[in-house]
């Protein structure tokens, strides 16, 4: 896409209504992310159907604003309360909270704000440059590779986010099965509908997502409000804030190499299907620790640690759009929901998406850039207010989440059946949490289910019912090998853990 075309996209985008939604949604995202228990995924899943009436542009602006704001907002409660607002802020909590205990919480918060916004902007630039190239490559991919790419996402997500590899895979495979309920996409045969007309049209992604991430979290928070307890925060003056911001930029300048390294790690991990900002944050945090000259500070309040984690998790938010718009494959649960939102507006992300919608990449980059800038200003200005919002009792917030969940589930297809589906998935999500089964692979399974199934069957048909092309085509072979590595590695890790557990229990028994 040319510079002139990008400028036109930018100009058409700058109207008061869109800017208003951008500002409000980023703010909402920050608040959602900052509230422990409310995640960016949950916020986006609640809003995907509620924004239907806003039109495609404003709807996407709201979803992206909430997504980016939510990922960033998670760091605020991580630093101030040692409770990561979102899973991607877990690494931030390790370094941020000790800094808060030392009385450097505000400075750490500002550093996080600057790193998040700047990391997001670098990620956006990589997205702008890489997407057309990946899009051209995507046109050469066939049924076989698509099948493996879909499976790759689900397997990686399943094996990385769970302490037990098989639990993640169970979640992903169950998601794939849920997606197969209803009328078959090739021959039009109903499956697993048990005579229900509503089930024949399948289980919608959005009500399932709202249930899994929204309602289940409301149940968890209400049953155990102490897990979402907030502490009081201190007062701030404008002069103090300005000096802290200047110091934050100076810190970023001093650690410029680490910043670029974390931005690249975050964007690349985001571009891998099945990963997400939490994995990006941990990998970048680990890389920061390995390259640091002050390793002894890690775990006790290291600015390099929070710089690495926060830059990467926000750079990742740009990276997830690369497979989504070029291959039609969602990288993680939240991009799966955003992709579902795009589909609700009649768009079909995939290899031909950028050919059919050449302005989309410019639009997306413009939104990402503006949201990151809005996030920078709001994050700095809202630091005192966020502290107050965090103190709202769970008993007041969570009933609102239940109401939003009901409305959100209903609004997608305007049918009461979807509310029932949402409630079912809410209970299922709660039970899954108790069983330590991650919900993200299930979300990916539901969104990628039809892609995986149709490409498996079409691949079989094109190969005259032979599975050999699934293993012999060059790209397929690479993906199969990678997939095997991602399945085998957690098994080896699990076996090692079992061995050490056995040794520990034996030692415990002897003593």
């Amino acid at each position: 896409m040319g510079t002139a075309e990008t400028a036109i996209t930018f100009a058409s985008f700058l109207n008061s209504t869109t800017m208003w939604w951008l500002f409000v949604s980023t703010l909402l995202g920050i608040v959602i992310g900052a509230l422990p228990g409310l995640t960016a995924t949950m916020g986006v899943s609640l809003l995907v159907s509620l924004t239907l009436g806003l039109g495609t542009v404003n709807s996407m602006v709201v979803l992206i604003g909430v997504y980016l704001g939510g990922i960033y907002g998670g760091s605020r409660s991580a630093i101030l309360l040692n409770v990561p607002g979102t899973p991607s802020a877990a690494a931030t909590a390790i370094e941020g909270f000790p800094l808060a205990l030392k009385g450097e919480g505000t400075y750490a918060g500002i550093v996080v704000t600057i790193c998040s916004a700047m990391g997001g902007i670098v990620g956006m630039l990589i997205l702008w440059l890489a997407t057309p190239l990946v899009s051209r490559l995507a046109l050469a991919i066939g049924y076989w590779e698509y099948f493996w790419l879909g499976m790759f996402g689900i397997v990686i997500s399943g094996s990385l986010v769970s302490d037990k590899w098989y639990k993640g895979l169970i979640s992903g495979m169950t998601g794939l099965f849920i997606a197969s309920i209803g009328i078959d996409g090739i021959y039009g045969i109903p499956r697993f509908d048990f005579g229900s007309t509503a089930l024949r049209s399948g289980i919608s992604l959005v009500p399932a997502m709202i249930g899994l991430f929204g309602l289940s979290e409301a149940f968890t928070a209400i049953s155990d409000p102490d897990s979402h307890l907030a502490q009081s925060t201190r007062r701030f003056t404008p002069r103090f804030m300005i000096s802290v911001v200047a110091d934050g930029f100076a810190l970023l300048y001093r650690n410029f190499r680490l910043f670029i390294q974390s931005s690249i790690i975050g964007t690349l991990i985001g571009a891998l299907p099945g990963t997400g900002s939490d994995i990006a944050a941990w990998v970048a945090y680990d890389a920061a620790k390995r390259t640091s000259k002050k390793k002894e500070l890690f775990g006790k309040g290291s600015y390099e640690g929070i710089l690495g984690a926060e830059t990467a998790n926000n750079a990742c938010t740009s990276g997830v759009f690369i497979p989504m718009i070029t291959l039609g494959i969602a990288g993680d649960a939240v991009s799966a929901i955003i992709m579902g939102g795009l589909q609700l507006h009649g768009y079909r992300p995939g290899p031909t998406f950028l050919v059919e919608n050449p302005g989309f990449i410019g639009f997306l980059c413009a939104v990402l850039l503006l949201v990151n800038i809005a996030m920078l200003f709001q994050g700095v200005l809202l630091t005192p207010i966020i502290g107050k919002v965090l103190q709202l009792p769970v008993g007041v917030i969570m009933p609102m989440v239940v109401i939003m969940s009901v409305v959100g589930a209903y609004a997608v297809n305007i049918r009461a059946f979807d509310i029932g589906i949402m409630v079912f998935f809410g209970f299922m999500g709660f039970v899954m949490k108790k069983l330590r089964i991650p919900a993200a692979p299930m979300a990916l399974g539901i969104i990628l289910g039809s892609l995986v199934e149709l490409n498996l069957r079409r691949g079989l048909m094109a190969g005259k019912y032979s599975i050999i092309p699934f293993f012999t085509r060059p790209v397929s072979l690479v993906l199969v090998c990678l997939l095997a590595v991602f399945i085998v590695l957690p098994i080896i890790r699990g076996a090692r853990q079992k061995e050490s557990y056995k040794e520990r229990t034996e030692q415990g028994g002897r003593s």
């Binding site: 099965f177 155990d224 009901v406 498996l456 079989l460 415990g508």
Partner: protein, 170 residues
């Protein structure tokens, strides 16, 4: 926790077997081959979930055996299975209440209020749900509970009807 997890794993195993068997009975229609038919993919998934859940059961039983082989000091007043899963009594009560309230909201309040008024039924149901949940789960004073409930119901109505132009559940 062990019992709960074992029951869940066994239920999953049985469900997976059911999925596989049901998938085998999905008609072929125009498909020339089972593997191109509508039942193939669910059958494969059923088989994979069956294997994974069998592994889950085996892993749990193996771990249980490893723990049993080692002598442990007796624990005074060990927590019950439900306590291990959900937590102490107060947490369980809160969970039961929010679960019941949600079910009542979705399956009783919305349909009942919907029959009373098509346009404002959801608002009434929202008001009652908010009122009950704030009373149960927050420490707000009675007048604030009513004010917040009224405000919530009104905001929900205006935002979704006029702001976002979306229909309300009925």
């Amino acid at each position: 926790m062990f019992g709960f997890e074992l029951i869940a794993a066994i239920m999953l195993l049985m469900t997976a077997a059911g999925i596989g068997l049901t998938a085998l009975r999905v008609p072929l229609s125009l498909a020339p081959h089972f593997w191109a038919g509508a039942g193939a993919f669910p059958f494969i998934l059923g088989a994979v979930i069956f294997i994974l859940s069998a592994f889950w059961i085996a892993d749990m039983l193996g771990k249980r055996r490893a723990v049993r082989d080692v002598a442990h000091p007796p624990v005074e007043n060990p927590p019950s299975a439900v306590e291990q899963i959900i937590g102490p009594r107060d947490r369980r009560i809160r969970l039961y209440f929010i679960a019941l309230l949600t079910i009542a909201f979705v399956f009783v309040l919305i349909p009942v209020f919907g029959t009373i008024s098509n346009d404002f039924g959801f608002i009434g149901a929202t008001f009652v749900f908010t009122l009950a949940s704030l009373k149960l789960f927050s420490r707000l004073a009675a007048q604030y509970v009513v004010i917040v409930s009224v405000l919530t119901a009104t905001c929900v109505y205006f935002i979704f009807t006029y702001g976002l132009s979306l229909p309300m559940p009925r």
